[in-house]
Structure formats: C-alpha cells, structure tokens
Symmetry: D2
Subunit: 405 residues, 4 copies
C-alpha cells in the first residue's frame, strides 16, 4: 500500500541523487544538502528541525503506536572523481565516493512514501540526516546539540549503507557488523642535538621505533587468539634532515576492535607501552595522547535484525537477503540509538550492476574489478539501487509501524 506509489516517485528521487552527486560537500560543510533536505521534508509534511549544525531531522507524527527512526549520512569525501559519469562531481577534489548521496535520496523517497501512505500505519516516523560521518563527528554533534530532547524517543533505529555487492541484494547480520575505530595522535618527546652528538640528545627516532615494535605485542601477546584487534601505526614522522636529531616524533595510530572490553584493553596497553618506552628513553617530557576520528562499535540488536530480515525476505524474496560478514570499516550511526538507549540494525545495500558482479565473482576478481567505497571510480548503479534503498527503509519501518493492522 505504502509502496504502491513508488514508481511514480522514482523520477524526482533520481534527480535528487544526480544533483547531490554533482554537488558533494565535505564533512561539517553540508549546507546545500541540508537546505535541500529541509525543503523536501517540509513539503512532505514533516516537522523539521536543524540539529548539530548541518544535521536535519524530520518528524511525522501519525497517531498512537511505536516510533521508528531512520538515518542517512550526508557528507562527501576529499576524493577527485574519476568515473566520467554524466552526473559526476562538479566540485574539484570532492566526491560522493562513499554513496551517502544514495542514502539521502533513498531516505527522502521513503519519507515521501511514508507520509503519503500514512493510512497504512500508525505511530511516528523520524528521518534523520546526519552530517560528518566520514570523520566520526556528525552523530556526536547531533547528540551533543540535544537530539534526545528534541525528537520523539524511537523504539528502534535503522540505517543502511550502499556497498560493492550486487544491486538488488540486501545483507543483514545480528551482532557486531562494523568495528569500533579510534584514531590516536601520539607525540613523544626527545631532546634535539646535532646529528654528530647523540650523547647530547634524547633520540626520539629511536624512541618511536621502539614504540612501533612494542605496539605489535598488543595484538600478538595481549589479545586472546582469535579476537579481533588491529593496531596500525599509519604514520610515523620525525625530523626533516639527516644531521639534526629532532626533538619529537609523531605517531598516528588506528585501532579497530569488535568488543568494548578488547578495545579498553588495547587502549590501556598502548598508553602503558608508550609511557614505558618514554621512560626507557629518558624522555624529558610526558607523551601527548590525542584521540580523534573515533567510531563506536556497530552492534546490531538480534531481535530487531531478525524481525527486519524476515520482513526483507517476505518482501524481496529470501534469495535477495544474505548474511553480512563482519566489515573492517566503521560508522558513527550507533551513537544515535545509543543516546536514546534503543536497539538498532544497520544493513548493507547492494550497488553493483548484477551482471558485472556475477562475472567478477566467477573470475575471482571482485576486489580488482569493482571499485569499492572511497575509490575515485566508485559508482553504484542508480537502478535498481535507489529503488531497493527506498523500499528497504519502508519495509523496515512498516515491520514496526504497520504491525497488527
């Protein structure tokens, strides 16, 4: 009933998608996108609020019943588009290379259908357009700006992400599906000196090297075999010339975990090791630790996931719904349901031309042939991806809001 009008709506939804794709905006600068979203939601009859700078929430109250929140992220990436698409980015060096334009368009489509089809359900439907997912800052900004007080408390929350799997497919999984991720900037201090006078120095290059080797033991010795933990020193920078011993070194560390206890253990071990190595080195100053780009664990509620998965299977056919494997990537969506203390599920939306995907799968060249998220060649097919994305949101929402009707 609700989805009956979908075909009639797809025209403007595709236009919104192309428009957003042409005008990508970096994290925390999503002003054009926010304005577009606000105008549409208002036109659909949602009561619209700006939260957390460029965040937008629309609420549709529709009588007694449960409350559902659906979220889309809105920001683009500092990537120079290389797809050659007719609707390619018109902003130099910025691209919707992670498909958030697809998320926004699909959720707007769902919002319209839910508003139009309100006779078929009751309760409240909240659509949340979150900025700055890429830097892990947007959901926090919205929560910090009073999200919980400003919108109805949902009973359940949903989000989806377009991924390099066949378009037409949805992938769900109960439990952890995206890792927690933390970035940590560590600065350790030595004492500079001329390169020929090491005895006058405390050498931060040697100190940083020791830290890097010692950090390896967190995964190899302090983590239970088989538990998921990654400690990557993605950048180590110290000094600029050969003959000057610098006075500090900077390490950028990325930590991925799938369990909050493991995460706490890893973070504590990093700090312990860095402090111990600084002591060994005779470092003249305590190290600095600055966390940034932190993403929480995405841990799908089993009951919600089972319910939504069943609804997907009923609507799309069970062949269209697969079990998602754990992703190494991260998301900041879960901070929103966590702020309300409510369960959630996050599913994956296929975006690759099915024939292309099948051929690559047969040749074993998926990783090579299909541009993944963040690639300058990332290009989900509009059809049927957009349509499936709209339907998935509607089906998930109705599984809670149309029950018993």
């Amino acid at each position: 009933m609700v989805l009956a009008g979908l075909d009639a709506e797809l025209g403007w939804i595709r236009d919104v998608y192309s428009d957003l794709h042409r005008h990508p905006e970096l994290s925390l600068q999503e002003s054009r996108t926010s304005k577009l979203v606000e105008e549409r939601l208002a036109a659909f009859g949602y009561s619209v609020t700006r939260i957390g700078g460029t965040g937008v929430v629309g609420v549709l109250e529709n009588g007694r019943g449960r409350a559902v929140l659906a979220r889309a992220d809105t920001d683009a990436l500092p990537v120079a588009e290389a797809t050659g698409l007719p609707y390619a980015s018109e902003v130099d060096g910025v691209m919707h290379a992670c498909g958030h334009d697809m998320h926004v368009s699909a959720l707007l489509g769902a919002a319209k259908l839910m508003a139009h089809g309100r006779n078929a359900w009751s309760g409240s439907y909240t659509v949340l357009f979150q900025p700055a997912e890429e830097v892990g800052a947007g959901s926090k900004a919205m929560v910090d700006d009073g999200l919980v007080a400003k919108v109805p408390r949902p009973d359940v929350a949903f989000a989806q992400h377009v991924m390099p799997i066949a378009a037409g497919m949805l992938a769900t999984t109960a439990g952890p599906v995206l890792s927690a991720a933390d970035s940590l900037r560590i600065t350790v201090y030595g004492k500079g000196a001329h390169g020929s006078m090491p005895h006058m120095s405390v050498d931060p290059v040697v100190l940083a090297a020791s830290i890097v080797l010692r950090l390896q033991t967190i995964v190899s010795r302090e983590t239970k075999p088989g538990d998921f933990a990654v400690v990557t020193v993605g950048a180590l920078n110290a000094g600029t010339t050969s003959n000057i011993i610098p006075d500090r070194a900077r390490l950028l560390v990325n930590i991925r975990t799938y369990d909050n206890d493991v995460r706490a253990t890893v973070l504590a071990a990093i700090e312990r090791i860095v402090r111990g190595e600084c002591f060994s080195a005779g470092s003249p100053r305590e190290p600095d630790f600055e966390f940034y780009d932190q993403f929480p664990l995405t841990n799908n509620d089993p009951a919600v996931t089972d319910k939504v998965t069943a609804a997907f299977a009923a609507h799309f056919g069970s062949g269209a719904v697969v079990r998602a494997s754990r992703q190494t990537a991260s998301e900041d969506f879960s901070r929103i349901p966590d702020a309300f203390g409510v369960p959630y599920t996050f599913w994956l939306l296929g975006g690759v031309d099915p024939a292309l995907y099948k051929a690559a799968l047969a040749k074993g060249t998926v990783a090579k042939d299909i541009p993944a998220n963040h690639s300058p060649y990332f290009a989900p097919v509009i059809d049927p991806t957009l349509s499936i994305g709209v339907q998935a949101h509607v089906v998930a929402a109705l599984s809670y809001l149309a029950e018993g009707r």
Copy 2:
C-alpha cells in the same frame, strides 16, 4: 717584512668583511661574492680563473720555489640573523652564520700582503675561494671542473675556520681533526592497505622501526670500543594518516667517522641491515640508497702541521697556539689537496671576545653563553679576529715560501 703593511690594509679588509656579512649568498649562488673576489684579486695582480661555477682561483707566480695553495670558503646559510649588529644581513633568512665571510676577507688580505711583499719570498701563491662548503658540494664542483689542470700543483695546502674560541688564539692538530660525514637517503618499500587490513599490507612503518633499532648495533656491536662512529637517523617519515598503511618509508641517515676503514665498515653494515630487514618484512621491492652531502675526512699531515704550528708559535707566541681537539663537524676542503695528492693542514681561528670567553670558561658556561657556528647569534669579533686570520695565512705561506731566504 710581508706583514709590515698589515695595519694599513685592515681598513678595507674590515669593509669587505662588513659588506660580505651584509650580503650573504647561499651555497652555489655566490655570484656577488665571486665577482668581488675576482675584482680584488685582479687588482692585486693575481691571474684569476673562474672554476666550478662560483669558484674563483687567483695565482701569483713569483719565481722559482715551492707552491702554496690557501683556500677560503664563501657561502652563507639559510639562517635568519638575530645578532642586531650594525652590519647584519640584509637578506631575509640568509646569514653568514658560519664565518665564511671572515675566511674570505682574511684570505683577500693575505693575498694583498703576499703580492705587495713578493720580494720577501719566491715560488707561487695560489688563493682559492670555494663555494658551497655547507652542502659539501663546492670543492667537488671545482675538482670536477678541472681544478688540477687549471692551476699550478701546490706542494702544500692550507685552510682555516673561525670557531668559538678566544680571539687571538689558533688551534692546530696533526692527524684527523674533522670527521668524515655522509648523508644517506634510504627508501624502503612495503605494500599499502587500509589500516584495518594489515594482512593485505607489507607494513613499511614496522619495517622502518626495525631498521632503526637494528642500525644501533653498528655502533654498539660492530665498531671497536673507543673508535669514533656515529649513525644517526635524523629523519624517519612514513604515512600521513592513521588509517592508511603507507607503501614506503624514508629514512635520512647521517654517518660520522674518523677513519676510512671504520667508515667503509659502517656503510657496508647499513646496507646489509637494510637489505636483511626488507627481506624479513617480505618487502616487494629492493630498497633505494642515495648518498648526498658527503664530506671527506680532514686528516692533517703531521709534518706540515708541525711546521706551521712552529711558525705560528714563533710569530704569535707559544701561548697563542693550542692543540685542537677532534671536532664532530665536517668540511669538504680536503678534496682539494686530495685531488692534487698533496699534504695539508687545517687550523682553527679564535673569534670570541677574549674577556667574554675567559669569563664563560670560569663559569663553565661556554656552550651556553657563546653562540656557536650556525647559531642566528653567531658573531665573531672583527678585531683581532680578522688581523689574526690574515697573519695566520701569511705566516703559514711564508713557512714554505720564504724558507732559507
């Protein structure tokens, strides 16, 4: 006899010094300085040749006898002067912070005196003004440009350097006085990957860290205890963000030695260790080794040094001549006598106000109170430094050219 006219000359020598100090020129860009030197030498009656770009050589033939070559270096440093002197640098960010302006002025003064006093000696006197000492490139450039074929082969070569010791003092020593120095850019290769997928990478940060720790063993285990060897990793740079494993790391290494066998052993050990560590890491590509800024050992000939030291003591008084300790610094002067295959000596010229020096010595604050070479506050006193610098060159030259007269 030759030195009799010194007082009358000091006026213009001081003016040249102030002028050069006001107009410092970076390595390989010493065109104004070269022009000034050429004009003066021509006026003194020297036959003048441009060699190696901004290098200038003046030759004064004066009958039968031995041949002496005296060298001054001419370049300045990328340092912003902070002395507040009336004749401070007028070039932003460039300064004669190593005293080469003193070397040029003093050698021009000696050239004039030697020309004027030619009745008192016989043979040939060659004055060589070498560019680009600071980057270890100037003496090589002159040799590569045919120096040996273009000027008379000397019997002996001299150079001096102003240092933070009391003005009025000279310091000499037989044997090694300045270290050999080599800079080495090492690039090691890994395989990049997302920070959450270390198993898809060959991590060059871990590889570089292992190299840094392993390089320590060259001095600690492979060098004879008490031998002089320094292996400094002055810079280690890999990666720019926390969540991307980069595909390479770059190390800038500085090596200082006082013995060519030790140097050869150290360089071979560095290469062996880097290759071994790349193998351990499963590096997909051989490392790159690029040497730059190389300075040869300055190894004073004992006989020449003894002769010159004795002449200094006779002229200045034995209290004014001390034994120089080994310096950790390096120079490229020795490539010039080495190109001819002739012995040389390199001495140090005091440049600090003697009262200031004495007070600092008494308080044990020489290192703290007296700005050393390369400091933005480096400021040798003009008197008596310039005069002593002129005399030292004349006395040294005459010890070979006036003998037996």
Copy 3:
C-alpha cells in the same frame, strides 16, 4: 538394547580404570596398558593386532553394513600425582593427569557392550588404542606402521576427551575444535668473542632478540584480524656467562592455528623472518629449523557431528549436550581418519562433580577451583563419567551401525 547390560559391566570397568590410574605409563612406553587391552579385547571376541609399537587395534566384524572406528589414547604424563586418591599413581613422577585412563576404560566397556549386543547392529566396529598422544607421535607411528592396510577402512571415526566440565555433560561442535600445533627449534649462529670485544663477534643474543620482536609481527600484521594464530617463543637460550659473547642462540617456538592456510602462512613467515634477521646480523651460517611435537588440526565433519549430536540428545536428553567452544589445546587423533580419508568427530566428556562445578560456576572460580588436565590434582569423578563415556561411544557407533534396523 546394546546398553541394557551396562550396569552389570561397570564393576570391572571401574576396576580397569583404577588399575590403569595406579600404573600410568609414559608416551611410547605403554606396554603394560597395551597388554591389558589386548587380553580384554581378545576375551570379548575381537581380532586383535599390535600396530605402531604399543598401539592396539581390535576389530569386530558383524555382517554387512557400515564400518565405525573408535579411538582412545593410552599414555600418561611426567607429572607427580598430588590428588591423594586411594587409587593414585604408584609410579613416581608419572600420572594419568590427562584422563587417558578414562578413555581406555570407557572404550573397553563400549567394546564389550558392542560385542555382547551384536544382534542389535551390523557392519564392523573397530576399537583403536593409540599410544603417545601427549608428544604427538602415536597416531603417526600407527599410520606409519601400516594402519590403513591392516584394518578395515571405516566410514567414520570417533574420539572423546574428558575435560573439566560437569560430569554428565557432553560437548560437541562442528568444524575446528582443537588447534593445529607445531613446535619448532630454531638455532641461529653468531661468532663468539670476549665480551669486551663485540667488534670481533657476531652477537647471537642481539640477533635472537631481533627475531623475537620481529616474530610478533606475524600475528599483528600478517594474520587477518580475527583469525586464530599464536606464535609463542617459549624458550630463548644463549650464553652462560656475562663476559663471553656466545656463538649461537636457540629459540623454541610454538605455533597454534585453526586453519591450514593460516598455518602455512605463519610457518613461511617465521622462516622468512629468521633468515632475514640472520642476514641483517651478518650471521656466518644458515639457521637450523627442526620441527617436533606437531599436532594436526582437529576439524570435526559437520554432517557426522550433527548426526552424533542428535543421537546424544536423543539418548541423554538435549540438556546434556552443549556446544563446545574452540579449545586452545591440540590432539593427534585426526591423523587416523585423515590416513583413511574419512570424516570424524571428536567430543568432550564432562568429568567434574556436577555440584562442585555448579558452585564454582556461580562463584566464577571454575579456572581456579577445578584442576584442569595436566594438573597434579586432576581427578575426574569416576561416576557418572565412566558410564557416560561408555554410553557415548555406544550411542555414536550405533547411530551409524544400527540405522534402519
């Protein structure tokens, strides 16, 4: 039917158990045990063969049908028993501290019941008593001695192990249940010298230390996050006095994996790292690698496991059968079915007094309060452990041999 006579048999089975417990025999020395087993099997009507030294196989042919092989391991450990039990070990320093006496007794009981109840099934039942499981050598010895040619090829193989879970319980799991384990003795060579003359040496202590740190990167960087891999350097020994640099170092490494590809990757990485580090060190001789105490992966066949689990649930009640978690321990059982190329399942048999277990579980002190395998206090309760162990073997065998009857 087959199990109907169990109660009447338990007396002698308990006696066998106590007797074996009193007379433990170390790996490859299980002669008394083998003789006892041979005599009993012959008395039950099995055709008995000695294979692989102290290995014993009994075959009971019983008409057309499938073939089942059940295995028990027979050796004890070099542990001094501290249980104070009335039937404690009478052999100094040797103890059945891993419960193999329970495995032998239960399988003898099952053999008797299967022989006695042969009307209730058809096919062949082979019971295999394997020596030297503790050192990973017994199954290999039997296979090398021609096991495959000497006994009927089974359709399926079974083994069980008594563990510190509540007696009365069985734990099963499909897929990997026990890790592959490899021990590796690595000897790396340096060059000895007096401690005051490191430059005359190649220091194997520094070399070994580098290897240890580098080996950490196999798990931290080369293994997919979440995959199970352990690389433990359990022993590092080099030198005996402070002032002599030794000429070699020995590392004993233990590797645990749950996947043969991961295992191959880890072993290759160890060799690559050790060779690379020896090269870095300038080692005068190639390192030695000697594998010992190797255990294969125990990877339960899903179909077999499901069938047996269902049979257990039907017989013992579903509350008595739990899902086994992956164990860090290892076993050499799987070499036997692998030699035949047939599927198998390996299950865990509870051995702890249920009241005690429940109390410890409630207090969270299971690890502390209940002596685990290899402890000098390890003491499974005889009842109901023995009875359950007998029944489990019979139920598993009949699930294949009594089908359709």
Copy 4:
C-alpha cells in the same frame, strides 16, 4: 748492586715457577700457593701476615725512607691445559692460563734480591700476594680483612702482568690502561601461561628481547662518540619448552668502561631501560639487579709511570720499553693502592719467544699464531721472561727506595 746476584737465584725461581704451574689453584682456593709463598718470605727475612684468607703479605723494614708495595696475583683458571709442556698442570681442568705463576715467581725473586741487597736502599718494601684476581674478589677480600691497618702505608704501588708481546719487552702507559668491568645479573618477571594463551601471560621472552635491543642504544646514542663503553649481554636465558610461556628471564650483562663518569652513566641507563621496559610489558614485579665480578678502572699515575718508565729505559735500554695501548681486559689490583689512597703503575711484561713474535708480526698473524691469556695453549717462555720480571720489580722499587743514595 741489588741485581748483581740475580743469575745465582734464577735456578730456584725457575723451580718455583714450574712447581706452581704444575699445581694451579682456583680463585679463593690458593692454599698450597700461599703456604709456599709464606715459607719463602719468612726464609728471606720478611715479616709475614695472612690477610683475606689466602692472601699473603711480607714486609721488609730497612730504615728510614719511602715505602714501596709490589703485588702479584696467585690464582689459576678453570681451563684444561693443552700445551704439552713438561711442567704442565697436574690438576684436571685447572691451569695457570693467565700467567699468575710467573707473577708470583718473579715477585719472590725480587723479594729475595731486595732482602739480600738491603745495603743499597732504605725504607720499606712490602710484597703482596693476592688471591682471586680472576673473579675480581681477591683485592677486595684483603682490603676488607684490614689490609690498610696491617701493613705500612706505601708511597707507591706496583704490579705487572705477563702478556702476549715479545719476551724482553716491557710496556708502560700513563693513565687508564685496563678497563673497569662490571657484571650484572638482571632478572625480569613476567607471568607464565600455556603457550597457546598469550593473553593470560606477561611474556618475559618478548620483554627480554626488547631490553636487549634497547640496551644497544646506550653505546650508540648515550655515549659520546669515541668514548670507550661496552655493554654486552653475554647470556639470555628464559624458558625450557616451546609451549609454556615462562615467568621470568635472566640476562647476564658485562659492562666495560674507561672512565668513571661514563661508567656511572652506563649503569644508570641500564637500570632506567630495564625498568622502563618492565613497565611497558606490564611486568608484575620489579626487576632484580645483582652486580658481581666487578673490576675497578686501572688508571696509572702519570708521575709514577714516568719515573718507572725512565728507570726501565735506563736499565733495559729504551728499545725495550714501549708504550702500552689500552687493554680491553680488567684487573682488581687498583683496589689495593686505592684503599691506601696512593698512586700506582701497572706494566705489561712480554712473554713470547721474540723470534716467534717477530715472525708472526711480519706475517700479520699475531692474534692467530700466539696463544693469548686464558687460552689452553698459553705458554710464556721461562727465559728471559722470569728474569725480566724479577728485574722490573727491583728496578721499579729502587727508583723510589735507592734515590739519592
């Protein structure tokens, strides 16, 4: 005058030497040697005292004048002699492989000559026979037993050591001639666990490996280039089997320095590094540091050395006296003059057949062809070594005691 009777004495001196060589005694077990020395000294007219267990001191008072102390060390080594000499060791596994038997015999000879020639000098002559030099314990034992109170305070002290240089030669040097040496037993603590459960452990093997690599930086980065410092980890022992993570590791470290400030810096750095690494590892217990086998710096007084060197040159000819280079070895002699607060000199006595030495020198095979101290082939030639050793002690003593006569 004093030396006039030497030839007549050489017979018994040679016999004593052969006798001592046949009957070597290990450190702190020199009872037979002490008895022999006591009897001889008493027979020569010395007043004899036992000090520090097996230490013996003989004092000869001879009127007013200065006081000289001469010391010989008496212990042998746990080395199995392989020389095949007619007077080879008769004690299995024990050998005078460091020539202390030569030191004892020569000093006994000098004692006899000084007593017999007492008309030629005045003052006091003390001969001290010190045990346990090899383990750095003997001089300390004598000082601790009240040496300073029991014998006359000398004005100067002497010792000599036979070395692999040509017999007939003496080598002297002012300033540091033998290094300070310290042995240090470090125990670091982890937490044991099964090899498959690293997360339950604190791995002391990884901890020890990190310490070894970090200790390298003391020489490479914290010691002034060209200063003498050695930090050798001669032994690293942890664990005994591959699959048990041990709970501790033991490192035996040897430290050699030539300057007390450098020594203090190195020792402090070792402790700092070990504590820092234990912190990094999360070690559950502070590390233990136990010093043993400590040898002080042997730092010859310049004035004493010059005086004795001049006396040697006058007596033996200047061609027979060379400048000793710094030795990497150590001695505990200096604790004796240091206990009195008096200056000393320690010289080297040539012990190699001069023709053999000359030939090896010409071929560049001294290190290979001539067995050095501690070798099972060490065999100084008796003549002229013994005679020169006697004369050296007498000449040195008379340079203080016969002055002005």
